[in-house]
């Protein structure tokens, strides 16, 4: 029992289960999944589908945070890749052909790869603080996206493109398979090769790992490239969900939610040890929370307040001072005969 309690994924998982239980209690239909035309529908399926963009972005963010970095530009990259893809489809003669859509998605992802390379260059080669280096693109990126769409919200009709977020494969949303693929690829690359360990060593102590012969520059650069590519795919999923490229709204605040998901999952912002499973749980927690907020009757306007309370509670739980306080209270409860112990310990 103690082992389960000590496991680092215990609290994130407990939070997710508590949320789901709360939802089920307040509305029993939450867990029900109906089958229509061989496709599954229900609140849980919605969560799986709608969490895909955040999942991709948060996975990239996990790797970047593990290297002691942070990537603020993911929302802007989403806007750019969506704008590029939809503009290509919009200007082509056959928006419904599979070839056009493939080209659009390919170019969109390629552009986001270039943006990731740019971020990585600033951080790994020029040695600029990650917050600032990615702030440059966060500011400029939406401007670029607006230029691409010429200030308008580009809307298109293209069935293959729509399929990305709204289509179904063997009864489950296609977007869910995209996020599963991303999770599996990241997990294999980071956990089945030495790369994960090297990433952690760079995050824990960059100088020591460089002296030990780890090529930290390449690893950090790669993390930003991965984050850029994943954000690009997320941007395409997002724009396919609304079938429009909105340079201002696409991925707005997603960097904050992604960071929150990573922290919720138990990866510390100070870098080093990271957990991909934790991030996955964190993303589902946030997505469940969003739908909880809607269904509990909290007015959508107040949802940021709710979000803020969650952030504050989570960071307080992770704070060392609160840990110390809890330990002291626990100790003084156990040894009530000598209450001085707690004071000495503090």
């Amino acid at each position: 029992m103690k082992k389960i309690l000590r496991h680092r994924l215990f609290w994130p998982t407990a939070a997710l289960i508590a949320l789901i239980a709360l939802n089920t209690a307040s509305r029993p239909s939450f867990l029900s999944i109906t089958v229509r035309d061989g496709e599954l529908y229900g609140s849980l399926i919605d969560i799986l589908r709608n969490s895909a963009p955040l999942m991709l972005v948060a996975l990239g963010m996990t790797v970047v945070i593990a290297t002691r970095g942070i990537d603020l530009s993911v929302g802007a990259i989403m806007a750019v890749s969506g704008a590029v893809a939809l503009t290509i489809i919009d200007t082509s003669d056959s928006p419904n052909s599979l070839g056009t859509v493939a080209v659009a998605i390919g170019v969109g992802v390629l552009v986001s790869l270039v943006l990731g390379v740019w971020n990585g260059f600033l951080v790994a080669v020029l040695g600029i603080q990650p917050i600032i280096a990615t702030l440059v693109l966060m500011l400029a990126g939406r401007g670029i996206a607006l230029l691409i769409t010429e200030g308008f919200i580009t809307t298109v009709n293209s069935d293959p493109y729509k399929f990305m977020s709204q289509g179904y494969v063997v009864g489950l949303p296609f977007a869910f398979f995209v996020s599963i693929a991303a999770i599996v690829i990241i997990a294999i690359v980071e956990r089945r090769t030495a790369l994960g360990v090297l990433t952690e060593s760079v995050g824990i102590n960059p100088v020591a790992s460089r002296l030990a012969g780890v090529r930290s520059r390449g690893i950090i650069w790669g993390a930003y490239v991965a984050s850029g590519v994943l954000a690009g795919i997320a941007g395409i999923l997002y724009s396919s969900n609304i079938m429009a490229a909105d340079a201002n709204a696409a991925g707005l605040y997603i960097e904050l939610y992604a960071i929150l998901a990573v922290v919720l999952g138990g990866t510390a912002l100070t870098g080093g040890k990271f957990t991909i499973a934790g991030t996955v749980i964190g993303v589902f927690t946030i997505q469940t929370l969003t739908s909880t907020i809607t269904f509990l009757g909290v007015p959508p306007a107040a949802s940021p307040v709710f979000m803020a309370s969650v952030v504050i509670v989570v960071v307080l739980i992770q704070s060392p001072r609160v840990h110390r306080l809890a330990r002291n209270i626990g100790r003084s409860l156990r040894s009530r005969s000598t209450p001085r112990n707690a004071e000495v310990a503090s």
Binding site: L126, I131, G141, R142, I259, P304, M307, L316, R321
Partner: protein
Amino acid sequence: MTTSIETTPRRADAATSRYRTFMNRHSSLLPTFAAIVILLVLLVGAQIAFGNFITPRNLSSLLLDNAYLVILAVGMTFVIITGGIDLSVGSVMAFTGILCAKLLADGLPAIVVVPLMILGGAAIGLLIGVLVQYFDVQPFIASLAGLFLARGLSFVVSLSSIKVEDPAILWLQSTRFQLAGWYITPTGIIALLVVAIGVYVMQWTRFGRTIYAIGGSEQSARLMGLPVARTKVLVYVISGVCGGLAGLVLTAYSGAGYPLNGVGTELDAIAAVVIGGTILTGGSGYVLGSLIGVLVYGTITSVISFMGAEQSWTRIIIGALLLLFIVVQRVIVSRADRRR
């Protein structure tokens, strides 16, 4: 001290050595000088291109249109010099602005409402400061919570914009003190006052010097017996107060409160502070530099509207400028490190 006395250096050498000494002692001024140069180049370039850019009217409106950003940037400078960051300022501005409009519409007098706005901003700042200082939360995350909180509260106050009809608030923007074509409104005076107080506090008070010391090295500041904890909390409170004041100025400027005001303004404020020569790792920077940074930002915006180009260029150019300044800072910092 060990240089030989018999060699009398020639005048040119003396000049370069004096220049070098100045540069070594005041290397932190260099980015701010660069910002001033860029501002002048922008103004002169715009004057040459358009012919009627440098007019008293245009320059006056440069300050007035960006008065709220000036106030936010001053607060942000305090936070950044301690090595922190405050993402909440844009939302705090929106929250206090809509609170002001709502309370005024409910019939409260302005004399009660304005202190309430400032208190509201200070309370959110205090929350962030306590999280940062006493619970070891990273400033980024703590102020992120502040951002969500203030944005949510402003939606709770009202979902739509509320018009302000209180004469005292409108007076702040409608009154114009004129002098030979130049004019200034009370909102502009508030902004300049905030800058003046900021400069005074940073340069000539114990509190201000403690802020620089914390940014330079928190550990050393603590060992020197400086009140680190109190100062770090107060810095966020100051930023919150500036957010409240900016809310007042923006409400007066636009004549209404709107809960979606200032989305992304925190980034503009950070960009202005960095362009003004404050180094984001803390310990070095000037409040006056941040004023210059805001003016650079405002000039770019008005140049783009003069050209009739898309405003999306503003963000791209600000991003590019930000990059330029970061690289300049990077060079300065690495040179300073090498000297050590």
